[in-house]
């Protein structure tokens, strides 16, 4: 049994590229070993910002031999006039078999050429050397580059490769880089010095001795431990930020945590401004007191030792100082004028090319807000319109207009309004109207915020569809994140149980586009798109696909209703699957027996023959209006128990009644009756779409 060590050494890769590629490397090597008939036990991979490391344990010393019979072309194709044709020759040559060594066998009356091939297993090192370049090439990165004349690709230049099988070099090239037994030590601490290793054990020992931490989880733990040691004695802690922790740990090979402070005078700035300056620009953690209050401290991670640390920390503080200085300038400038005075500048900002400016978008949002009583049953349309008018004003402030603080849009508007004496509802709604950014995010905390957020997103959705094909999502491509707009609308409606007429909402929004630009998308395009997203949303939430199909089958957009019905059906299925299956099976028999083109007429009770038939119809006649009331009243649980309560009667019916009777009149009468049931039940869901597994 052998042990393989592979190390790919490269110039610093983007932090986000590392984990997926290291995982892929492991998967691809595993796949390759299996394809190449190389037995092995454990495979593991890990990474730092400048290396991927992979080991394979218990690796076989050579491939298994194979010996097998291989079928070739038909005899009459391989031979003409008892002589080999080109096709026949090619088959033998490609398998390196002489004519005398082949066999002819008959199969279903046809003769075929057969050869025995034997492939001797190759040495493991040879197989791996041959396979490795393609595995490296196949690693997927968001962007790749070339760096030498061989034009091989990687996310950054690949500078060294260690590939050892029990200490013996497995030789191959990737571009100009040849594999060997020499790794590199730390780039700063050891000047990137080369060091030979004799195998996996010696490699890991060397790395650990030189303080290079190969494991991301270990680095994260180390960052947290050092941070705690620095902060805890002063009663401080970092503002938890997993994304930043992940990124910092993936940017270093050694961990040295530092804590510094900026001038307290900047604490008057909103916390989020300071956090943005620290997090987005400088990659620093914000620091809180144990009671949760914000402090003027920051925490950063350094790679390459602790020399000169006091000076380094002071330098970091200086950089932060100049960033906060800029932020202070923007903030004070912005507050010199009321937020609303920034509104006219929206005329200079393009919304979607061909669909005017942000000012025109704001006007549409106002219009929808003014219609909010009718659209959403909201009781203060004047307030909502006021909020819509102010919602985008901060885009032109110094702070948000600056690229680095663009992520604070909405929030800054809220802050400025508050400073200028705006009412609470307006401030909160402006501040939060970009929420949620994606499904699962925090939602706006006020009704006004929710409604403006929904209006904003619907207007984006209608806009992209109205602007032309190049904005619409196709296949896996959705450069303008149009799908996300729709998902967010669905998320808001379902989370907050907003009982609104979506179709009317869409129509009013599209009309606003039409008035401004003389063009707009078709309503059906938007409703169909939303319906498809609804299906995806349900899927993501774990609703079974067949139940999704059943509840979304009725026409129109009824998100809340569909969701509630899906829950009823899922619960019923979970509670007693056999019983559920039996009931659905009975219901689906009704739909299945009615021909697609059948035109139901009036039901004539006099044509009934069997007691079961009469009983079913009587039950239906007695419960029909109650059922339709329940469905209309959205009492979905009760409605489903009424419908599924028909099961015994339906079973008895099909047990006795021959629906397709010989007499046309009787047959049509029966189908007409069943059609009434189908229609009444179908108002709840299309039960025939539910997959029933009855064993």
């Amino acid at each position: 049994m052998s042990r393989l060590l592979l190390e790919l050494g490269f110039e610093e890769l983007p932090a986000a590229y590392l984990a997926p590629a290291a995982a892929q490397l492991k998967d691809d090597v595993k796949k390759m070993l299996e394809e190449k008939r190389l037995a092995h036990s454990e495979i593991s991979s890990t990474y730092t910002v400048r290396r991927f490391v992979l080991t394979v344990d218990g690796l076989a010393e050579k491939q298994a031999d194979i010996s097998q019979e291989k079928k070739g072309p038909r005899y009459d194709v391989a031979y003409r006039d008892t002589k080999l044709t080109d096709i026949g020759k090619k088959f033998l040559d490609s398998n390196r078999v002489q004519e005398k060594d082949m066999a002819i066998k008959e199969e279903k009356g046809q003769k075929y050429l057969y050869v025995n091939i034997f492939e001797k297993g190759k040495e493991t090192g040879e197989v791996i050397a041959a396979a490795m370049p393609d595995i490296i090439k196949g690693l997927r990165f968001p962007r790749v580059m070339t760096w030498d004349e061989t034009l091989v690709t990687f996310a950054r230049p690949l500078r060294w490769i260690v590939c050892l099988l029990d200490g013996k070099t497995v030789g191959f090239n990737y571009g100009r880089t040849a594999s060997g037994n020499e790794t590199r030590l730390h780039k700063f601490i050891h000047n990137n010095q080369k060091a030979a290793v004799s195998g996996a054990d010696s490699y890991f020992e060397l790395m650990s001795k030189n303080g290079i931490q190969l494991n991301q989880e270990e680095r994260k733990k180390e960052i947290m431990a050092q941070t705690e040691a620095l902060l805890l004695p002063s009663g401080l802690k970092i503002l938890p930020d997993n994304g930043l922790l992940e990124m910092l740990a993936a940017s270093v090979e050694t961990v040295s945590v530092m804590a510094g402070a900026f001038d307290e005078k900047y604490l008057f700035l909103p916390d989020r401004v300071i956090i943005t300056a620290m997090r987005e620009h400088q990659r620093y953690f914000a620091v809180l007191k144990n009671d949760g209050s914000f402090t003027n401290c920051f925490v950063n991670v350094r790679d390459g030792g602790e020399e000169n640390m006091d000076f380094v920390v002071k330098q970091h503080a200086r950089v932060l100082f100049s960033r906060l200085n800029d932020a202070e300038f923007f903030y004070r400038e912005d507050l010199k004028q009321p937020l609303e005075s920034f509104i006219p500048k929206l005329k200079e900002a393009v919304f979607i090319s061909g669909l005017g400016t942000m000012f025109e978008k704001m006007e549409r949002m106002k219009l929808l807000a003014e219609a909010s009583a009718g659209l959403f049953g909201y009781n203060d349309p004047a307030l909502l319109s006021h909020i819509a008018r102010l919602s985008k004003a901060d885009l032109n402030t110094n702070m948000v207009g600056e690229k680095e603080y663009a992520g604070l849009r909405g929030f800054m508007g809220g802050v400025y309004l508050e400073k200028q004496g705006g009412d609470k509802k307006t401030c909160a709604a402006v501040s939060e109207h970009y929420y949620p950014n994606m499904v699962g995010d925090t939602l706006p905390s006020t009704t006004e915020g929710l409604l403006v957020s929904m209006i904003d997103k619907m207007d984006n959705l209608c806009g992209f569809f109205s602007a032309g094909d190049r904005f619409k999502p196709t296949g896996s491509k959705d450069p303008y994140a149009v799908r996300r707009q729709a998902m967010n609308i669905i998320y808001i409606i379902l989370e907050k149980k907003l009982d609104i007429d979506l179709e009317k909402f869409i129509v009013v929004n599209l009309d606003a586009y039409k008035k401004q630009f003389g063009k707009c998308a078709e309503k059906s395009e938007i409703t169909e798109f939303l319906k498809q997203r609804e299906i995806n949303y349900f899927k993501d939430k774990g609703v079974d696909y067949d139940i999704i199909n059943a509840v979304t089958a009725p026409a129109g957009l009824n998100l809340l209703d569909d969701w509630a019905k899906a829950q009823v059906l899922m619960d019923a299925r979970k509670k007693d699957t056999t019983d559920f299956n039996d009931r659905i099976f009975a219901l689906s028999r009704i739909a299945n027996i009615i021909p697609q083109d059948f035109k139901p007429g009036a039901v004539d009770v006099k044509l009934f023959e069997d007691a079961e038939e009469k009983a079913l119809y009587e039950k239906f006649s007695a419960e029909q209006s109650k059922l339709s009331e329940l469905i209309k009243g959205k009492k979905n649980g009760e409605a489903f128990s009424v419908i599924s309560g028909f099961k015994p009667a339906v079973d008895a019916y099909f047990g006795k009644v021959l629906v397709n009777a010989r007499e046309e009149a009787k047959k049509n009468n029966r189908l007409s009756m069943l059609s009434q049931l189908k229609q009444a039940f179908g108002a709840f869901a299309d039960f025939s779409r539910i997959v029933v597994d009855r064993k």
């Binding site: 580059m145 070339t146 950063n300 790679d303 330098q315």
Partner: protein
Amino acid sequence: MHFQDLIFTLQDFWKQKGCIITQPYDMEKGAATFSHHTFFRSLGSKPWNAAYIEPCRRPKDGRYGENPNRFQHYYQYQVIMKPAPENIQQMYLESLEAIGIKVKEHDIKFNEDDWESPTLGASGLGWQVWLDGLEITQFTYFQHMAGITLNPIAAELTYGLERIAMYIQGVNSAFDIKWNDRVTYGEVFLENEREFSAYNFEYADTAMMLDVLNKYYAEGCRLAQLKLPIPAYDFVLKISHLFNLLDARKAISIAERPTYIKKIRDLAKMCAEGYMENIGGAAR
């Protein structure tokens, strides 16, 4: 280390590494990448190793000399090596040592940066190099120039000289940088910043500029068609600077921006293709 010694040291360092030390190209430009020494020389297969200081102009960044970190005129120190040496990162770190920045005594990070210049139709992958949290260098492996896929690949190092000097000298304003032991950066450039900011933001004649911009574009196209890509490229530089000036005066709407940028890019592409043809290496 004085500002001028910083430059001398870098010149000497890169001279030792085999670069020719060239001089700036005598026209306005927004970045050292626009210089012939980088734009044309990154094209084609012939090796090219050069280092030069390049004055850059970004009209929009002027602040009348009132902001310690922002100016409409500043210097970049540019190194371009083609093909990119295998140890170019190590060479860069050595250059920091040469100007007195001991790598082991600092927090140095290579933070990912996908560089792109829409006006030149150029892009590359690399990093921003951070020194104790301060961005001091843009490090790029060029992949495309003027829309042409490059091979061999050049490495471009662009040092922000004022930032580095401020850091080394421990001053909080670029205007306090000591040029030598008697003269400050402010004595050399403060008045320049005030007057150019006024010109860029208030007095530039936008109608005249729009007029010449179109004429320069036509002239550039004419020269490119005459297979004179190098003179034609002068007009890329001219219209690119005019565009930046008009932009500072807010005379170009957001909607029009892409149209102008495309004009410059298209002309740059004609120059690059013409150049490739003239040096006998057709564009791939």
